[in-house]
């Protein structure tokens, strides 16, 4: 194929890429809040989000919903970071856990949310913080839409019980 043909083929890709990166940039705050809602500290959320954005720059086939994609990639990065911290900095992890349990006296939505199982938390955050639909959540978290529905329903009920409602 000629060079002009190659350029014509590249152009839509470059445009798509630009749109993808712009959408990722626009989704930053939502994903950051999603990570905080999942139980990450501010610095952990910053690091996980930064790693996810770097991965977004390298991605070859952009996903349709950047919020969901960034959220899942950031969650994986945060999970790896937690494992590494547990192995190499156990004292810091224990100190962090102790400082969080100090807040047990007050009924705080984020504290109670952090006590839910990870799958329930992820579905609830994807639906209520990121604003993804049931199908988008299912695609992002690699679940069936029905599973998302039932997990989400259970998560709402459990959170409401924890909040004493």
């Amino acid at each position: 194929m000629s060079a002009a043909g190659d350029r014509a083929e590249e152009r839509p890709n470059a445009r798509e890429r630009e749109l993808w990166l712009a959408a990722c940039e626009a989704a930053r705050t939502k994903v950051y809040r999603g990570l905080i809602a999942m139980g990450a500290s501010r610095s952990d959320a910053e690091d996980a989000l930064q790693d996810a954005l770097e991965a977004a720059v390298r991605v070859k086939s952009p996903a349709t919903k950047p919020e969901g994609w960034l959220f899942v990639v950031a969650i994986r990065g945060w999970r790896r970071h937690r494992w590494r911290a547990r192995i190499f900095h156990p004292l810091e992890v224990a100190r962090h856990a102790a400082s969080r349990s100090d807040r047990d006296g007050e009924i705080d939505m984020l504290v109670e949310l952090a006590k839910l199982p990870e799958r329930q938390r992820a579905v609830l955050v994807a639906r209520h913080v990121l604003g993804l639909s049931q199908n988008e959540t299912a695609t992002a978290l690699a679940m069936a839409p029905g599973t998302v529905g039932s997990i989400g329903h259970r998560a709402i009920r459990a959170l409401r019980e924890r909040l004493g409602e």
């Binding site: 930064q50 913080v129 989400g152």
Partner: protein
Amino acid sequence: MTLEQDFDPELARRLDARLAFYAPVGRIPQALPRQSRRGLALAVALAAILATSIAGLGYQINASAESQGLGCLHPVAKIGLFAQGITGSAHDADHASSAQHTDRASHEACHP
């Protein structure tokens, strides 16, 4: 039909209000060069050494059992046999050194 029972608008509003003060600090939105992988290389080298050592020890245990014609033994029994062999040889060495010491003492008594 899937009912949308997994979304609570009131909960979404409350979460939004609770998270309103959280915002990411602006960072450079470009891929940074990857950090040095020295730690990873060291971990891989250590893991390789450990794996080789374990494989070597296993081979030695098996060879030791086979040399005694007990190749059909259970692996745990082979390990026990190998451990017995080590303690036995240490015990023999101890005896040998004490016997050597006695010999030397008697030699020195005869030839001061």
